[in-house]
Symmetry: C2
Subunit: 663 residues, 2 copies
């Protein structure tokens, strides 16, 4: 597989099918992008006499020597037959730039044809509907945007849903000194997709960091597993679009649904990627991770050293807002700092040196040496007369001891020069305090993710009761939870009013009376939940009200003992279209939908469970939901809401389990 | 006042007190920063024979000619006497760089001395504890950071709490083509503060946009009023530190409390500033506002035109996530687009042109002409062979018709050149889609803020009942609300159990029984609220439980009719240390503190009230809280929680009003 993608991204020979002599046409731009390719470059056009001063073959079959990669710059309707020709000519991989496939009205059939042709010939296909890819290291610039020839080679690889985002990210990274190994725009990804490219990049010794841009994902589990395989070796930073509702536009772009934003971000994090919020953060995080990845740690501590308090405040603010530890320094560290610094400023963590002096490097060394400090964020304005960052960072016990992230401001030329200088000793530099702090957060999140993956052993699945044939009402749903160790209130299922009255006598008052009818999913909303029932008269009134609810199905009553007030959570399960079985924990109660729960893909490690709920009493509920989802593929949704936290445990007050046909 | 600050920021003559010949010392760096000053520059040092080749005066009194601005680079303990000398010599304004005043242990007394000296002599003071200020337009670079001589002059002014942040922001802006008018680091701001500098800048014809950096604020109302005065004329962008808990560090920086982050941001927005989240956004927003401020509109619509769908998705995502309208285009617009563009892409809003052609400018013109579109965000990768942004933007009906914000990516040199070119026609350019989108959000927020200020007439305050002498329990608090038109549940105050039983008979059952005891602020938590009481026995049990609560004060019971379930809000009022009377509305109920309510400074306009709560039923509660806060300065806090929203109105279920001594 890796070998097949080598023919795509690092081919020995290339043909441009649809090469054009007309400036401004994509078929001409593609040729000019590829002119620097050191191997054989063939141009294919049925009529043009010559293009950019080169000979032209009439067809790919007429080239007369083997071609590894064909780059197709022909209209959508011409793609299937062109790929047929490629297959016949023994081409191993192809890029199709044209749009007009699944993303366009009426284009799904054409895309299916493309898929069939490449599968039949064993041609590996990138696209369609992409501007292509760029591999500046091997000078394979298979992209019709002219400026790709200016991209710097380097250690960063980009895998983007969108050809445009691949370019936007690659240029930004290159402009900030982070050169490109391979930048790939997947487009409609009929054949080559995220997971396979990730595995290729993991085997590629030149790639030292990977950036992902995701719109929709076809096979979430394959991507999850690929990230989990690759991230321990090569750090991965991921950016997902779709915080707001932009699904319609996305569909028109690559013909793919965006998927749930929160679930996708949770899945990427769980797999071991560092998830960021925008393109700038993506490049900033990649620049940090390629220079100074941290060792796996459950809770790394950051030492902040600043020459100016104002920017240092922002750094600390960002770190603390993102729950990154800025630990207090040891007394010995503080005493050491007191010998180096004037008594005017803050000397714990953050450490404010005030206007720096020749002691700045020693200050960094002292803080780096503190047991609680796993990385440094350093801020100092460019002040040529008082501090040379490179010299300070080279102080023994600083760089090499811990990762160092540097924030600074000054004239642009001084910043650019300084960035290159400190990059030479493995220190990423950023032009704002927040960018430096967020880059440090990326290091921390990567460190935590790797620690989590290492610790996150998945326990063997437990035995799960079979599902009854009939539709699952609240009682049957709770029986399943009971069997899996979840505490539910004492209750009686009552077929008629007499049974309900008997239940009132048998259970501790007050009781709750609920309609028992699987057709009524939102019982409370329907008026089917009556609380605080203590007397026969109250019970009759409650039953009257429940009987008055309009519904056609057969019906009973559920009488339960009252549970005292407490904090309510929601524990849910769902079968996500992209990611499969997922478990959610969030604030519970009637407005639970207004909150955004935390998500994890099942199966869950103990760490996943602990991260979902700090309170151990909730863990059996989470495990029960997980077990049901994993054991019974027919279950599409589980809502245990509320799960009430009491001083002596957690009780599942309500439960709803839906199967596919019922959802 | 403005005239006094002119002597500070645009002086005719300058003296550096504490000038030094030693490279690396602040007193030397300050001299070198000021060497380019075109007016008389005097250096003061008691011993140095010459400094940087210039003559030195032994004291400020020995200069022998008038000095408008004295820049003091002397140790903290020497500052009071140096200022005394300045005052005696007729100096009009001074900058004090030294730290070691209110921010340092034992420095408050020294700061008080400084305040006394400058007040007595009428010397206007910037600082202490600041690196100074920069005025590149007049070459007054009164700052000891050497690179300030490289700052470009221009239309942007910065007013920063922190001298370091003033520099960080100024350099960043200058590096992105936004030159500096005046950049001010206020430091401890013993004398000159935010409000006064804002008024100075409003009168300054060179300043076209103002950036604020805030740590703590002394007089929130003065700042609020200054922003409200200045922003209609000159756009203001504001950045506040302190999202997380960084107060201890801040205190060590300028000796000032940070104040509440949410309240401060709300106040800045309400006053008319555009509030941003980080330094990068501050500069990006200033670059947009200085080029293409929008007219005031309550709900401006953005047209998004993109040559690449991927970046266009991020732009739309950011706009929608920030509740900025991306309206559907008129049918005529879409029909026009269909004539200009291939049928492959999205042609409503966003408009995805696909790889652009010579029609790109016409597409922009069509979208700009749509009635719903008040500004354009345009994205196109640098593709030298297919689109020239400047030419496209110059298409009739584009620039000039609406503000245009441009996002692009490409090689850095091409970006830099392009940025300068399009800036020449009033189009700000950004290197990532999100930055372009957020800059457009800043234009929208400024437009909305100005519309809001214009529409936000403050009604005359209504008559408010007097406060009783005794401590306000729930009943007395509710009586005040009743008098102001708030609906509260029918209730009886019961001095003893007999009265409670009588109340049960008189009110509609079920009733709620509450402990009535101003000493118990958290009644529910204390077990002092019993719901669902219908029978005498239930009532007795409830009264027993309430009587069992430990408390020393005299006590009664409040018996109230039950109110059906509904959505619960919190309406609160407080007297903020910085901002004075503020009103809050947020999710209600027992975990209200876990949510972050929305805040507004009182008095409130009708628009403020409508923004706090969409439901008109809540408005009387908000107005009541506001009126009580404004009429009774002794009230420190009001909590009406929950306010229950029902189908036919809102009911204040609980109320707590605290006075200063009780809080």
């Amino acid at each position: 597989m890796t070998d097949a993608l080598r023919a795509l991204f690092c081919p020995k020979s290339i043909a441009v099918v649809g090469a054009s002599a007309s400036p401004g046409k994509a078929g001409n731009a593609m040729v000019r992008s590829l002119l620097g390719f050191p191997g054989p470059l063939h141009l294919v056009n049925p009529t043009a006499p010559e293009i950019e001063g080169r000979a032209v073959a009439r067809s790919i079959g007429a080239i007369g020597e083997p071609v590894e990669l064909a780059v197709l710059v022909v209209p959508a309707e011409a793609v299937p037959s062109a790929l047929e020709d490629c297959g016949a000519a023994g081409v191993r991989a192809a890029v199709v730039c044209a749009g007009g496939f699944a993303e366009a009205v009426g284009g799904r059939q054409l895309q299916a044809e493309v898929a069939e042709v490449v599968a039949r010939h064993g041609v590996r296909l990138l696209g369609p509907n992409t501007s292509g890819f760029m591999n500046p290291v091997d000078q394979v610039l298979a992209n019709f945007v002219p400026y790709v020839t200016r991209l710097e080679p380097g250690p960063a690889s980009i895998v983007a849903s969108s050809g445009g985002m691949n370019l936007a990210i690659s240029f930004l990274a290159s402009g900030e000194g982070l050169g490109l190994r391979v930048g790939v725009g997947l487009g409609n990804s009929v054949d080559v997709g995220f997971a396979e490219v990730l595995d290729f990049l993991a085997d590629d010794d030149t790639t030292k960091v990977i950036g992902l841009h995701l719109e929709g994902v076809d096979d979430g589990r394959a991507l999850f597993d690929a990230i989990a395989r690759v991230a321990p070796r090569t750090p991965i930073v991921a950016l997902k679009v779709g915080r707001a509702d932009v699904g319609e536009f996305a569909l028109s772009h690559t013909g793919r649904l965006l998927g749930d934003y929160d679930v996708t971000r949770a899945a990427l994090t769980q797999a071991g990627a560092v998830v960021v919020d925008d393109v700038g953060q993506l490049v900033d995080a990649m620049r940090a991770l390629v220079m100074c990845r941290m060792a796996p740690r459950a809770e790394p501590g950051i030492g902040v050293v600043t020459a100016q308090a104002g920017p240092g405040l922002f750094i600390t603010d960002v770190l603390r807002s993102r729950n990154v530890s800025v630990p207090s320094l040891a007394d010995t560290t503080v005493k050491g700092l007191e010998r180096l610094l004037p008594p005017l400023t803050m000397l714990s963590n953050p450490v404010d040196t005030g206007r720096p002096s020749e002691t700045f490097g020693k200050v960094l060394g002292l803080v780096a040496d503190d047991d609680e400090v796993d990385a440094l964020v350093v801020y100092a304005l460019k002040e040529s007369d008082v501090v040379n960052p490179e010299v300070a960072f080279r102080t023994p016990g600083v760089v090499g001891q811990v990762p160092v992230v540097f924030g600074t401001s000054g004239p642009r030329e001084a910043l650019d020069l300084g960035r290159r200088v400190v990059a030479g000793i493995g220190v990423p530099q950023y032009p704002t305090p927040e960018q430096a702090a967020r880059a440090a957060c990326a290091l921390v999140e990567d460190s935590r993710a790797q620690a989590r993956r290492a610790a996150g052993v998945i326990a063997a699945s437990k035995s799960v009761p079979a599902l009854p044939e009939q539709r699952l009402d609240e009682h049957l749903s709770k029986l399943l939870l009971d069997a899996l160790g979840v505490v539910t209130p004492a209750r009686r299922v009552c077929a008629d009013r007499a049974a309900a009255h008997a239940a009132l006598g048998a259970l501790d008052a007050p009781v709750v009376v609920k309609v028992l009818d699987p057709a009524i999913a939102h019982k409370e909303h329907a008026g089917g939940v009556k609380v605080g029932i203590e007397t026969e008269a109250q019970l009759d009134a409650a039953l009257d009200a429940i009987d008055a609810i309009a519904s056609s199905s057969s019906r009973g009553y559920l009488v339960e003992t009252h549970v005292e007030p407490g904090v309510d959570l929601l524990v849910g399960g769902a079968r996500d279209l992209v990611w499969g079985p997922v478990v959610a924990v969030g604030p519970g109660g009637r407005d639970a939908e207004a909150h955004r729960p935390s998500w994890r893909l099942a199966p869950l490690s103990d760490l996943d469970v602990a991260e979902l709920a700090a309170d151990v009493a909730v863990w059996p509920v989470i495990r029960a939901v997980e077990a049901l989802l994993l054991a019974h593929p027919s279950i599409s949704e589980i809502d245990v809401n509320p799960v009430r936290l009491l001083s002596d445990g957690a009780v599942a007050l309500d439960a709803l389990i839906l199967r596919d046909e019922e959802a």
